[in-house]
């Protein structure tokens, strides 16, 4: 069976881990924002900006890790913008998020075109190389960083006072305030940290998975991360699992495309990940345990 051959090959699992990395990072970032009660629809634009900024830093002569830091700083700044609008001002998280996505995307394209006005074929950089390890373990450092970050976020959320504060402002901001916490500070901080992770997800695309920046390169990955957060019921461990499952499916449809290429148009295969995300949302919607205060702005003294 050709299909079974695919599933046991090391190349397949190498691809799964590679494909999963941006989803893991993006989902983790969105999860952090939502756990603090803020929906961040800016994810798609923040990923695009991270991809562009990280790549541009390296293209301009910076090191690869400098690129990673630049991307994350840009992400945190976009997070600050989103948080300023939605937390102290309490504006619509939907509309602000769409605005951040439009701004992040358009700013990325603007800067890219400004620096490279006449680039018909996208210039390339020397990206991160896979570590010299056997089989599917031969991944780039950012994939390992993503795995570490899942552990770090899970530990922080459930085992540290800071994590407790984040979960508290997402569930019951009034109680958090009564404990002497500043709901605004915790929410802004969580959104900035989460947005930095989203930008890192984008930077993985240009610094690890590929070696250039393309227009539309994020291609809905951010929106899929938002679906994955719901699928993972806002838990980092489940987010990792969801991202891996999704990536396995994506890698499998890519292989299937090669095997069964002639039978169905390739677009059918490309649609499957999006349809799968919608299906996953439908399946978990009934028992989705949203953070209680998600999308509800908090104003001191108001009930």
């Amino acid at each position: 069976m050709e299909i079974l051959d695919v599933l046991v090959s090391a190349a397949f699992w190498t691809a799964v881990l590679r494909i999963a990395t941006p989803y893991v990072l993006g989902t983790l970032g969105e999860l952090l924002c939502e756990r603090a009660g803020v929906l961040n629809l800016g994810i798609e634009g923040i990923m695009t900006l991270g991809a562009m900024a990280g790549w541009m830093a390296v293209y301009q002569g910076g090191g690869l890790w400098t690129g990673v830091l630049v991307a994350m700083a840009c992400g945190a700044l976009m997070g600050l913008l989103h948080a300023s609008l939605t937390v102290p001002l309490g504006l619509s998280q939907h509309v602000a998020g769409i605005g951040v996505t439009l701004l992040g995307t358009s700013l990325s394209y603007f800067v890219y075109r400004l620096v490279l006005p006449q680039a018909s074929t996208p210039p390339t950089i020397q990206p991160f190389q896979p570590l010299d390890l056997p089989g599917a373990l031969a991944q780039t450092p950012l994939t390992y960083l993503a795995a570490l970050l899942v552990l770090a976020v899970a530990y922080a959320l459930y085992r540290t006072p800071v994590g407790l504060a984040v979960r508290m402002v997402g569930e019951n901001p009034g109680a958090a305030e009564a404990q002497g916490l500043s709901v605004t500070a915790v929410r802004v901080g969580a959104v900035m940290a989460g947005s930095a992770l989203m930008a890192l997800a984008g930077a993985f695309l240009t610094l690890s998975a590929f070696n250039a920046f393309f227009f539309n390169m994020v291609n809905g990955r951010g929106w899929i991360c938002i679906a994955l957060v719901v699928f993972a019921s806002w838990r980092p461990g489940k987010a990792l699992l969801g991202a891996l499952l999704f990536a396995a499916f994506d890698a499998f449809q890519l292989r299937l495309q090669q095997i069964a290429g002639g039978m169905l148009p390739y677009q059918v295969f490309l649609m499957l990940p999006y349809l799968l995300s919608i299906l996953a949302l439908v399946l978990v919607a009934r028992r989705a345990a949203y953070p209680r205060a998600l999308m509800i702005p908090y104003r001191k003294g108001e009930r």
Binding site: L91, G220, P265, L270
Partner: protein
């Protein structure tokens, strides 16, 4: 300093809010233009000239505004009922798809019958595309933001599939584009030797009709009530689910109509770059209009002017035309803050 809700927002404040937001956005983006090294005032002058400086520029701006009015209305009616339809882009393409299928010679009708048939089919296709996510929302509680966003990608792939397969133009030199619609399905031009077409009249008429429905009918009242407070509306005996589904069909229909009108009025055939993000810009239009149907017309004219003007500007000075997208995004964010200032007042102490 604290914010205090206004009990009543004067009309002047409601009109000044978007004007202030737009000026703030222009000022912020001036920094970006200055960074490119181009003279800011000259660049903005070129932008204005490119948008409204000549008869041709004006008709181009009006042509560009036509789909934006329709997608702006699509966003406005949906957001009013708190249905977060971010899928207007996909619905627009479904409308365009219906238009090339029915208008491509399948129906042999006189123009006065064919044009309405094609446009209504486009609207239906768009409406049905949003009905899916709306049903998932009211039946299973699935968040419509993500489903409508994801459907945009599915629809674009579907269009790509059809343009390379069943709908591919045999005369298209191998490009993925559909065969053109027949002459009887083409919308008449409004001004000779320009691209301005009758779609604008339809869009303006719909804005007026929606305003009347909104303010003068029970339908409009129910829509507003459900948007303001769905639980209170349900308690008052209003059919909340029905209002949601009705709004979905209407909103998707407006976006679908935008696609059909672009095909029949402007392009003549369907390609994958029919819409440079009209669906997403429609959200900005609706927000600038504070979700008011008549305000949508003004918002659409402004956004269209920015896009048309920026194209002209980037030909004269070395500022990438993506400045238009940055300006639109910045306007949206500034408008959010301006809307807040319109609804609240700053009080000392």
């Amino acid at each position: 300093m604290r914010l205090e809700p206004r009990t009543h927002t004067p009309l002047a404040v409601r009109v000044l809010a978007p004007v202030g937001a737009v000026l703030a956005a222009l000022a912020l983006c001036a920094l970006l233009v200055a960074w490119t090294g181009a003279p800011v005032l000259k660049a903005y002058g070129l932008l204005v000239e490119g948008a409204v400086g000549s008869r041709f520029a004006l008709t181009e701006t009006l042509t560009r505004a036509t789909p934006l009015i329709l997608t702006g209305l699509a966003a406005a009616v949906a957001f009013r009922a708190r249905l977060w339809n971010i899928g207007a882009e996909g619905q627009l393409y479904m409308g365009a798809l219906a238009a090339v299928v029915l208008g491509g010679g399948m129906l042999n009708l006189p123009f006065w019958l064919l044009i309405p048939t094609v446009l209504i089919a486009g609207a239906l296709a768009g409406g049905l595309t949003l009905l899916g996510p709306a049903v998932l929302k009211v039946r299973f509680g699935v968040d419509e933001v993500v489903t409508t966003l994801l459907l945009n990608f599915v629809v674009l792939l579907l269009v790509s599939l059809l343009l390379e397969g069943a709908l591919k133009d045999p005369m298209g030199m191998g490009w993925p584009q559909s065969a053109p619609v027949v002459e009887a399905a083409e919308l008449p031009k409004l001004v000779a030797r320009t691209r301005l077409h009758a779609g604008l009249v339809i869009a303006l008429a719909l804005a007026a009709v929606l305003w009347l429905i909104d303010t003068r009918t029970i339908w409009g009242y129910e829509n507003r009530a459900v948007g303001a407070n769905p639980r209170a509306a349900a308690f008052a005996g209003m059919p909340v689910t029905k209002v949601m589904l009705r709004t979905a069909v209407l909103s998707g229909g407006l976006a679908g109509l935008a696609g059909a009108a672009e095909v029949c009025g402007l392009k003549g055939y369907l390609t994958l770059d029919l819409s440079p993000g009209f669906g997403y810009s429609g959200i900005v239009v609706a927000m600038l209009a504070q979700l008011h149907p008549l305000g949508v017309v003004g918002g659409a004219l402004f956004i269209a002017g920015i896009f048309v003007g920026a194209d002209a500007m980037s030909r004269a000075v070395p500022v990438p035309n993506y400045i238009a997208d940055v300006l639109v995004a910045t306007s949206l964010l500034c408008m959010l803050v301006a809307g807040l200032l319109a609804r609240y007042r700053l009080r000392r102490g």
